[in-house]
């Protein structure tokens, strides 16, 4: 009892302390730096207090049902505990509030609290203390993520997310696991909210996506998962020595929990087609049974299984992507998915196909409907990135997407593709799609060649893009001999080639009409095979010497010349071409001193000069006369 009295006296002090500390929170939030420092201190003090309380065992977390039973018992100790719990909850509320306002110290304190308040609620009371497995409290993490998702300001939110990811989620495997889990939970909640109340949840969705993007997609390997090192709350040795029964029950428990949630998920996801869902479920079930067998041998906690990890990753992403996220994040996600998520052997990657195809449609249809909300270039990028994802799925997961070439063809009509930052991805995609397959029909190749060249001529494509296109066209023409009619059409053989449409060819001496239809987005209807690549003639007159030279040779090569290495053409930009031209002249790109030395070394080319002495800056008959008023 003495201990109890001692504890009660200390408890009284602590109670006082708690009261003081929790009270101060009522001051308003607009007091500047000084206030923030105080707040940070207060949160830290509280955290220390609660840490010590938890360490003492005075603060104990039980399941709700158990708690009520205990309350009925009216034990003093338990009462104290209950009281502490309420205080604790007040503290957590305060922290979440602070996080919502974008205070980093609150987040840090939150992380600290999460680290100490390990969850034991799943354990059955009859089990001895030593046998219980300590792990991260899911609810706390959920509250943190929820608070994070509510941060309003864009920049602050991203920074907070960055911090949470860097300090909490990424270093600890279990932290990551539970963060993903809570992201999923949050997004489901938000989705419900959106469906029911039609509220604008873009900010929340954005924040969640940002956080998910920042979280490393998966733990490195199984061995890493097995080791205790990367856990936030290392499981005790006893946990490893625990008997099979305890573990299996734990697993079962966990699984049921998971299943419940996935059921929720199922109910919520009305957009996702039922077929795929059930399929994926079946798969999940099968995978579960197999993992169960393995687990029985290896005795692991849920987050230590890589399969669970993969599953939660997939689900987190799927649930987030249902939300209406901003176009910028949309693009980021599109870029992130194929490289980081789809490659992680997630259980059912094909479930992302719908997302990709939907986002492609956003890109290509929007400029017909409303051009104000989605601008052309961003749309093109979205479509491009989604196509890339689709391509990945097609090649790795055997996705069937018959519209693919049509989509790609549609995308090409936007010459902005050659200007945007992701043009390299587009070019690689083109190369992969067109060059790697021998089986493509001739009309597809011809349409692509024709439209590519047309875009180069009409669309103000930079010389770098033109170079790439010409190299690609040259390679294609050589590989697909049946497209040779694009660059070479015999006058005499013409009639036999164009049997189908003699009506249009009402010419006598080998002249043909250009029947190519650039408006249609279906390669099959473009009639490119009946046309000729006149664009090459135009490109021969391009102002850039390299483009001109390449256009001249395009189509004249014989079969022996090796195809162009398209990767070389990918990296050209205006700047690189500019530098190259200057270097060619012997100018050198460096600064003054470097320039001098390098000039001495290099044989500088003699510079040709004009031989008409100018009388005035603007002369009669130049391109400016008539529209530029010059005295």
């Amino acid at each position: 009892m003495s201990s109890l009295s001692a504890s009660s006296s200390s408890a009284r002090e602590k109670w006082k302390q708690l009261k003081i500390l929790l009270k101060e929170s009522n001051t308003n939030y607009e007091n500047g730096v000084d206030f923030h420092r105080k707040e940070a201190h207060r949160f830290d003090q509280l955290r220390k207090l609660f840490t010590s309380l938890i360490a003492n065992g005075e603060l104990n977390f039980r399941r709700n049902g158990n708690n009520q039973e205990v309350e009925e018992e009216q034990d003093a100790k338990q009462k104290w505990n209950a009281h502490l719990q309420t205080q604790y909850n007040v503290y957590i509320d305060q922290l979440c509030d602070s996080i919502k306002h974008g205070n980093k110290y609150a987040l840090r304190s939150m992380c600290g609290i999460i680290a100490v308040s390990c969850c034991q609620q799943h354990q059955k009371p009859q089990q001895p203390q030593e046998m219980r497995i300590r792990r991260v409290d899911v609810n706390l993490v959920h509250r943190m993520v929820d608070a994070l998702s509510c941060v309003q300001e864009d920049n602050v939110a991203s920074e907070m997310a960055k911090m949470a990811a860097a300090e909490f989620a990424n270093p600890y495997v279990d932290g990551k696991y539970f963060v993903m889990k809570s992201i999923k939970r949050c997004s489901v909640e938000v989705y419900d909210l959106m469906q029911s109340k039609k509220e604008d949840v873009t900010v929340v969705a954005d924040n969640l996506t940002t956080l998910l993007l920042l979280v490393d997609s998966i733990a490195p390997n199984q061995a890493h998962l097995d080791s205790n090192l990367s856990l936030l709350i290392p499981s005790s040795d006893s946990a490893n020595n625990a008997d099979d029964g305890a573990d299996s029950t734990d697993d079962d428990d966990d699984e049921s929990d998971d299943d419940d949630e996935s059921d929720d998920d199922d109910d919520d996801s009305s957009t996702i087609s039922n077929d795929t869902n059930t399929q994926s479920f079946k798969k999940q079930k099968t995978s579960h049974t197999t993992t169960k067998k393995k687990k029985q041998q290896k005795k692991k906690i849920s987050f230590q299984s890589i399969a669970k990890f993969r599953k939660i990753l997939q689900e987190a992403w799927l649930s987030v992507l249902r939300l209406p996220i901003s176009s910028k994040l949309h693009k980021r996600a599109l870029r992130h998915l194929p490289t980081n998520v789809l490659t992680q052997r997630i259980p059912s990657p094909l479930r992302f196909a719908d997302f990709f195809s939907a986002s492609f449609d956003i890109g290509c249809k929007n400029d017909d409907n409303d051009s104000t909300s989605g601008s052309g270039s961003t749309d093109v990028i979205t479509s491009l990135l989604s196509l890339q994802g689709l391509f990945h799925l097609m090649t790795t997961q055997n996705l069937e997407y018959p519209k693919f070439y049509t989509s790609l063809y549609t995308l090409m009509s936007h010459s902005t593709v050659f200007h945007v930052k992701h043009r390299i991805q587009f070019c690689t995609l083109l190369t992969n799609c067109l060059m790697k397959s021998q089986m493509l029909p001739a009309y597809v190749i011809a349409s692509f060649c024709k439209r590519l060249c047309r875009t180069c001529v009409c669309g103000g494509v930079p010389p770098s893009g033109s170079l790439f296109v010409l190299a690609l066209v040259s390679n294609l023409l050589r590989r697909h001999g049946e497209c040779a009619c694009l660059v070479h059409r015999h006058v005499y053989n013409k009639s036999s080639k164009d049997k189908g449409n003699k009506k249009n060819d009402n010419d006598d001496n080998g002249m043909i009409m250009d029947v190519f239809d650039n408006e249609t987005n279906d390669p099959a209807k473009s009639r490119a095979l009946e046309s000729s690549l006149w664009e090459l003639d135009a490109l021969e007159k391009h102002y850039h010497p390299a483009v001109s030279a390449l256009a001249k040779t395009c189509g004249t090569e014989d079969n022996k010349t090796p195809p162009y290495d398209l990767d070389e053409f990918l990296l050209h930009t205006y700047k690189s071409l500019f530098e190259e031209e200057r270097r060619w002249g012997g100018g050198g790109g460096g600064g003054g001193i470097e320039n001098n030395t390098s000039k001495k070394k290099r044989k500088s080319r003699s510079v040709a000069l004009a031989f008409h002495e100018p009388k005035t800056l603007f002369q009669e008959g130049d391109a400016f006369s008539g529209w530029l008023s010059v005295p």
């Binding site: 009409c458 250009d514 000039k599 391109a623």
Partner: protein, 1057 residues
């Protein structure tokens, strides 16, 4: 070792490696034939039937007939011996004289008379000179050694000549006796008996009875022949006499006619031609000229034109740019030293010719007033670049004119004497010559005036004060002069005397040596005083001029400048020395002229730096054009730009590498700046929401930069396919157009300007700039009815941003509004200007669309027909955009004048390009050749066994065989030529050695003889000494004699004493 070996070889031996067998071969060929050589020469294909003139391969030249048996080698050796040897012998001989004159040697010396000799000689000389002889010399002299060969019947008479083969008398001559007396004689003398007759009979039997003397006796023939000849001679003589007579007659008649012609000519000479001329002129006036005359008239006129055509003298050679630069620099240097000298009151060797003395004070004041007014105007409009200079000008505005010791001087507040800005305009150095001439005229006129004054005043002076020896001006022989003209010449009085009527008379001897006596005083006047006066006046003028010159020198701009190293330094310079834009240009011009690379190669670095400074100056001025317009006639920024362009051009011409390097660097800086602006633009406003910031920030280059790029097109050729400066510039422009987002009207103007630049750059070479055309199409789209349409045709990211901008969405509306509000817009089209004021103007959108349309037209006219068949593709977007904006709608259709322009552009476009017309398809693959198309034949190649030949070219194709044959032949010929040359050299060497041997042997012989004699003498002496003193007694004097006497004398110790 080498030396030893060398010493072993005698001089006469030939060097190693030379063929030694030659001499032997020569001997052999002369004596007997080498069977191998014969075999070799007969290697040639034997001929079955010899056909004349047919060349048989392998057989040697025709002259081989001369000795068919000798080999080619032998022949060549012989030729060498004959020709080369001779040449060698004659090579250094100039005095070998062979008397080849006819009749001076041999028997002819005595047989020929002097006349005959002369005749023979002249015949020889003529025939030698005759060109016809060479024509029939069939064989070249070289081959047969230049010597004459005897022939008979066209065949060489040689040792191979076999007289039996040749019949001397060929009796198939039909007219064997024709004119050949000797033959007849021979026949007469050597018995014309039966033999002759028989022969004749045989001839008759062959050809029937011959004509003429066929049947007569020879004697008759002879007689009749003689008579005939006599007759002929007589006839000839008569003819000759007659001819002589006729000739005399003719000469006489000619002389007569000549005399009569003289009379005629004398009449002709004084004929009055005036009348004829007048007549002709009248006819011409009346237009009644005959056709012939008219033609002649034309001819005459043309002739006259040619006559009076300025005859261009051949000038000196054109000066090199270096020399021109040198001269210019020298001129400026001289002007500067003169100026400095004037400033320092140093007027030695200064003619002050450029100072006029007639400008008055009030004129100056007037000028000054005017200047003040101008200055006020100028201070109102002031550019930022000239700010500092204008500040100083304002200070200077408070200067006042003061007369000091140095003349009129302008003094500012601080009391410093400053330059007078007014004089600059009329003190340009280039205006020297006209003022100079004016002044000289003025001077001369004034002096003559004074002279006249002097003379008139002098007449009133006393007349007796002239004495002997005085210098005077005399009026030369007044009484003899026409109409009282006076000729005054300087002279001295040689004598003073008193005339009859008491008048004083002077004898004057003129300086030019003439003398005049008895001159009346009025005709003589002393010159001293006049001169004095003149001098005074001159001095006066001079002083005035000096003062003025000094003032001017102080106020004028220096002629020589140092090169400024920074832009700031240049601006300082301009601020201190120049007040107008033209002055600034002049300063730069002078900096360039004084420090050109052409003057000194060491200036290169300085000028390269200066070039960059100028580029920056250009940009600064160009930016000022944007911010505050042209700046009036004083600043004249556009004019400054023009001047700068010219200077840049000239400097580039001076050192192209420097210009290329500087421009390249500048472009690099532009590129970096553009990249930075593009990065910034992403941050400033993503969607053009925050207009306040977006207004100020522009990713497009400044006006100055774009103007500089315009100048680039003047300095470097834009038609090169690849140029180290122009191509990067094009890329830079392309990048700007494609990537710099359009946010304001300025951006649009800059974009249009850049597109114009790209079009201008590519115009000459008929290339096409896709970015510029896409930009134009996009700009046109901005004027379309609604935003959706606008967005559908825009391909460049630059304009996509603009299309979203609500500011540009109203463009069409504002065009319409502008057309409705202002009357001006309905009638005339507005042009874009680079001025900033323009941007906020109401008419901006209208001006934009007009300019764009105009530029489209220009672009179309450039692209037209230059690109194979693909103008359609190139212009497709522009065409569609034009169609779009030409659409009519109820409220927002374009104003009629703009619609007209659009339609006009469409017309131009459809005329230039052929939309929806059939074209020739591409035909790029080269067609397969017949050999490729042919079915591959696998049959073995058969050889015709009947035509078998051991040929080297057996298995080769025809062309290959020919080629090889040619090569072989060439090789053979080459080898032969080499061999010939080698043999020649060897032969010459051999001959030289032989000659030398011969020469040496003579000398050696002589030497040997001498040595032998000497040895003989020595031997004698030795023998005598050996014999003892007895034989040597009886010589010597003194001690020697005594010694000899004592018989102890001995030459050798071992003597027998």
């Amino acid at each position: 070792m080498a030396k030893k070996r060398g010493s072993k070889r005698s001089l006469s031996s030939t060097p190693k490696g030379l063929p030694q067998k030659k001499a032997r071969v020569v001997e052999a060929s002369s004596s007997s034939h080498n069977p191998f050589e014969i075999a070799k020469s007969s290697n040639a294909r034997s001929v079955k039937h010899h056909v004349h003139n047919r060349h048989v391969p392998g057989s040697s030249a025709p002259q081989s007939k001369l000795n068919p048996h000798t080999s080619a080698l032998a022949r060549s050796l012989k030729r060498r011996k004959d020709v080369l040897r001779q040449e060698l012998l004659d090579k250094k001989k100039s005095n070998a004289f062979v008397d080849k004159r006819i009749g001076e040697s041999g028997a002819a010396k005595f047989n020929m008379t002097q006349e005959d000799k002369m005749l023979a000689r002249i015949v020889r000389e003529r025939s030698r000179r005759s060109k016809r002889t060479a024509r029939f010399a069939l064989e070249d002299d070289d081959a047969d050694g230049g010597g004459m060969t005897l022939t008979h019947g066209g065949k060489v008479i040689d040792e191979s000549y076999n007289p039996q083969d040749h019949v001397i008398l060929s009796d198939d001559d039909e007219d064997k006796y024709s004119g050949n007396l000797e033959k007849v004689d021979t026949e007469l003398h050597f018995g014309g008996g039966a033999f002759d007759r028989a022969k004749r009979n045989s001839a008759e039997s062959a050809y029937g009875p011959s004509s003429g003397a066929g049947g007569r006796e020879l004697g008759d023939v002879y007689r009749s022949r003689k008579m005939e000849l006599d007759e002929m001679i007589a006839r000839k003589k008569m003819e000759k006499a007659e001819r002589m007579k006729r000739k005399e007659n003719q000469v006489e008649t000619f002389e007569e006619m000549d005399e009569s012609f003289k009379e005629l000519a004398s009449i002709l000479q004084f004929r009055d031609k005036e009348k004829e001329h007048q007549k002709h002129a009248q006819a011409k006036k009346a237009g009644m000229l005959s056709k012939e005359d008219e033609e002649m008239e034309d001819w005459d006129r043309e002739m006259k034109e040619y006559l009076f055509e300025r005859k261009v003298k051949a000038t000196d050679r054109t000066k090199t740019p270096e020399e021109i630069a040198q001269e210019e620099a020298k001129r400026l240097q001289e002007l500067e030293t003169k100026r400095l000298a004037r400033m320092n009151n140093d007027f030695e060797d200064d003619d002050l010719s450029d100072i006029s003395d007639d400008d008055t004070k009030n004129k100056r004041q007037q000028k000054k007033k005017k200047k003040r007014a101008i200055k006020k105007v100028k201070s109102a409009i002031k550019g930022p670049d000239e700010l500092d200079s204008d500040d100083e000008d304002e200070d200077e505005n408070k200067i006042e004119a003061r007369f000091t010791s140095e003349g009129l001087v302008y003094v500012d507040k601080k009391g410093n004497i400053v330059k007078n800005p007014e004089d600059e305009s009329d003190q340009d150095s280039s205006e020297e010559t006209p003022t100079e001439s004016d002044e000289s005229d003025a001077e001369s006129s004034s002096s003559s005036d004074e002279e006249d004054d002097g003379s008139s005043s002098f007449q009133t002076n006393d007349k007796s004060n002239l004495s002997v020896g005085m210098k005077v001006m005399g009026n030369y022989r007044l009484e003899h002069q026409f109409e009282g003209r006076e000729n005054w010449y300087p002279g001295t009085i040689s004598n003073v005397k008193t005339g009859d009527d008491g008048k004083v008379l002077y004898d004057v001897s003129y300086n030019d040596g003439d003398f005049e006596a008895d001159m009346i005083p009025s005709n003589v006047r002393p010159i001293k005083k006049e001169k004095m006066k003149k001098k005074e006046a001159e001095e006066d003028i001079r002083k005035k001029k000096q003062l003025k010159a000094k003032v001017k020198a102080r106020s004028s701009m220096p002629f020589v400048f140092e090169v400024p190293t920074t832009l700031e330094a240049l601006h300082d310079m301009i601020a201190t020395h120049a007040s107008t834009g033209a002055d600034a240009s002049l300063v730069i011009q002078r900096i360039y002229a004084a420090n050109s690379v052409r003057l000194n190669k060491n200036n290169k670095e300085k000028m390269q730096n200066f070039y960059d400074v100028l580029l920056r100056r250009f940009i600064a001025v160009g930016d000022a054009v944007h911010s505050s317009g042209d700046g009036g006639p004083d600043l004249g920024r556009y004019e400054q730009l023009n001047a700068l362009t010219k200077i840049l051009y000239k400097m580039a011409q001076d050192s192209p590498e420097c210009a290329g390097a500087v421009w390249g660097r500048r472009l690099g800086i532009f590129q970096k700046a553009l990249a930075k602006r593009l990065r910034d633009s992403e941050l400033v406003s993503v969607d053009g929401c925050d207009d306040d910031e977006g207004q100020h920030f522009s990713a497009w280059p400044s006006t100055g930069t774009i103007l500089l790029l315009r100048a680039l097109g003047h300095i470097f050729p834009v038609t090169d396919k690849r140029h180290p400066v122009v191509t990067p510039a094009l890329l830079l422009l392309g990048q700007t157009i494609a990537q710099a987002p359009v946010r304001s009207h300025y951006d649009l103007v800059a974009g249009l300007f850049c597109s114009g630049l790209m079009i201008e750059y590519t115009k000459g070479a008929k290339r096409f700039p896709p970015e510029a055309l896409a930009f134009l199409a996009g700009v046109l789209r901005l004027f379309s009815l609604n935003a959706v349409e606008a967005a559908s045709g825009i391909h460049l990211p630059t304009l996509e941003i603009a299309a979203k901008n609500p500011k540009f969405a109203l463009m069409r509306r504002s065009v319409v509004a502008h057309a409705e509000t202002s009357e001006n817009a309905q009638t005339s089209l507005t042009q874009i200007s680079l001025d900033k004021k323009m941007l906020s103007d109401q008419s901006m959108p209208t001006a934009l669309i007009c300019s764009t349309l105009k530029l489209v037209e220009i672009a179309v006219s450039n692209i037209d027909h230059s690109i194979g068949g693909s103008e359609t593709e190139v212009m497709l977007e522009i065409h569609r955009s034009l169609l779009h904006i030409a659409q009519k709608s109820k409220r927002k259709s374009m104003p009629p004048i703009i619609l007209k322009v659009i339609k006009n552009s469409l017309l131009v476009l459809s005329a230039g390009i052929k939309i929806d017309q059939a074209r020739l398809p591409l035909n790029r693959r080269s067609g397969a050749t017949t050999s490729e198309l042919a079915v591959k034949s696998l049959a073995p190649r058969m050889e015709d066994p009947t035509r078998y030949a051991m040929s080297k070219d057996k298995n080769k194709s025809q062309t290959q065989a020919m080629h090889d044959r040619n090569r072989r032949e060439y090789k053979r010929e080459h080898k032969a030529a080499m061999r010939e040359l080698r043999l020649d050299a060897a032969f010459i060497e051999n001959e030289r050695r032989k000659d030398r041997d011969k020469r040496d042997s003579k000398a050696r012989e002589k030497r040997h003889r001498n040595f032998a004699w000497l040895e003989d003498q020595q031997a004698h002496m030795n023998e005598q000494v050996r014999m003892g003193g007895g034989l040597l007694s009886g010589g010597g004097t003194g001690a020697a004699r005594a010694k000899a006497a004592s018989a102890k004398l001995g030459i050798k110790k071992g003597g027998k004493f």
